[in-house]
Subunit: 294 residues, 2 copies
């Protein structure tokens, strides 16, 4: 038994369809578009973006399956020489309108080279603008419980890896309250595949209950301003630091698809530092000093 | 005769003071703050940011003079081995509120290593949201005329270098209508210094007349939306591509100072393509196919 890449592609496509339907029902004001794109070097993808006037200001759920000659910039980062590669993944982002509702990002991916290397990577992470401990706890416990059912999954290590990966060195703070992040899992691929299927099907369970309890909370222009400033940090991470964005842009995986993750509206005000004791300051405290949530 | 680094630092400080006074008079609703910062490894700078309700939505005019051990990431990019470096510069950005008024960026810099290497770099470039040919022509002719008075300056080559440098490969378009860009000028340093002094003193002449004829033009929410979308491209360039931003963040030159260049408000809407024949489309045409303006 071994990994069949077409089955992974099919699974990611199914997750995309299911989640689009789930979040369209939740938003109720707009639907996800469907844009298919082809990569000149081989393969392509389907970008699905929702941008409406409802609770989801912008959401994107994208799948891709690209292949061909290894791009030179990618080649430098591969441990061993390879001529051709295959990469498939599903990547998604939800930017809610309400500042009390957190942004959520998830990604599942599989990579192969023609020299026999193969690995999985993925993860989910939550980025609140205001800290609700119950949201962070729910999110992390959902992920911990899934990991607990699979010997190949290591929640404590992957939670730490997530805090380390989604980190802005120039700000000395984490992007959000984390989740799990795993990469380059080369062993026991069938078991990782099984784990990833359960994880993919649980994305709605991990996030939707949080959205439902936040999207109708009242807020004012000060909270909205803070949200847009925090989204500036999100854009800084995605554009200046994220390896996934770099990989996507370098492999020609569709610029609009890759950058669909960027927040719909952003502010960069100069030198924003919240007053101690405010809800804004409470958020910063957990970004500077990540906590255990599960 | 040789270059005296303290005199360059003093000159940049003078340009900062002069331009802050000039643009405060122009804006008339707000003043530039004064924030001094020290770099742990040596040196520091003064960040001056204006964020008001007038014609300048955000402007920053920053100087720095940093020195010390060469940071490892910088070391990789130096042609020869060096233990210590000195770098000073002035960097500025103007983000007007009116979508018809272009953003302008300028930077003058000087770099030295303890192994005897020394060079100047700099440039000015203009980023309109709507194309006014007379603005681009005025800006370029001002720069061409200054270059024409100095044998060390090469307007045609530096104009091309500017188009090449301020380019977003993932969008396949230039950031704006360019200007001049020069880097790593290691020969005839006294003459370059003289040229750069004239250039520094002409920044107001190159930009202010353009601002004055645009900032009172009427505009609607559609034009503003386009402006904010174009500013998204600006943020993409500064965060994902610009070497100056990378250098600043890597050398610990004050994150808020380095990122003061980011636009105050930005939009990322999915897959924005203007209709042919519109003013928005006319802008894109000159970004895809740079023109001669002088």
């Amino acid at each position: 038994m071994s990994i069949v890449r077409e089955e992974i592609v099919e699974f990611y496509g199914g997750v995309q369809s299911d989640l689009c339907a789930l979040f369209e029902e939740f938003d109720s004001t707009a639907t996800f578009g469907v844009e298919r794109w082809a990569r000149p070097g081989g393969g392509g993808g389907t970008t699905r973006v929702l941008q409406g006037n409802g609770p989801l200001e912008k959401a994107a759920i994208n799948v891709s399956a690209v292949s061909g000659a290894v791009p030179s910039k990618l080649s430098e980062r591969l441990a061993e020489h390879a001529n051709n590669f295959f990469a498939t993944g599903i990547s998604m982002i939800f930017h809610p309108r309400n500042p009390h509702a957190p942004t959520m990002h998830a990604n599942l991916r599989y990579f192969e080279t023609d020299t026999g290397a193969a690995w999985f990577g993925g993860g989910l992470d939550l980025t609140p603008h205001y800290l609700y401990e119950s949201d962070a706890t729910w999110f992390h416990r959902t992920l911990r419980d899934i990991c607990g059912r699979h010997a190949v999954a290591d929640y404590p290590a992957w939670k730490r890896d997530c805090d380390e990966y989604f980190f802005l060195p120039h700000r000395d703070e984490a992007r959000g309250v984390g989740g799990i992040f795993y990469d380059h899992l080369t062993a026991e691929l069938e078991s990782v595949d099984t784990f990833q299927r359960e994880l993919g099907q649980a994305i709605g369970d991990a996030y939707l209950p949080i959205l439902e309890r936040r999207v109708d909370m009242p807020y004012g222009s000060d909270q909205e301003r803070w949200q847009l400033q925090r989204r500036g940090r999100y854009a800084e991470f995605n554009l200046a630091i994220d390896r996934g964005t770099k990989f996507g842009l370098e492999t020609g995986a569709g610029t609009e698809s890759v950058l669909a993750s960027l927040p719909p509206r952003v502010r960069w005000d100069h030198d924003v530092t919240p007053e101690p004791g405010t809800p804004e300051s409470t958020l910063i405290e957990v970004l500077v000093q990540p906590r255990e949530w599960a």
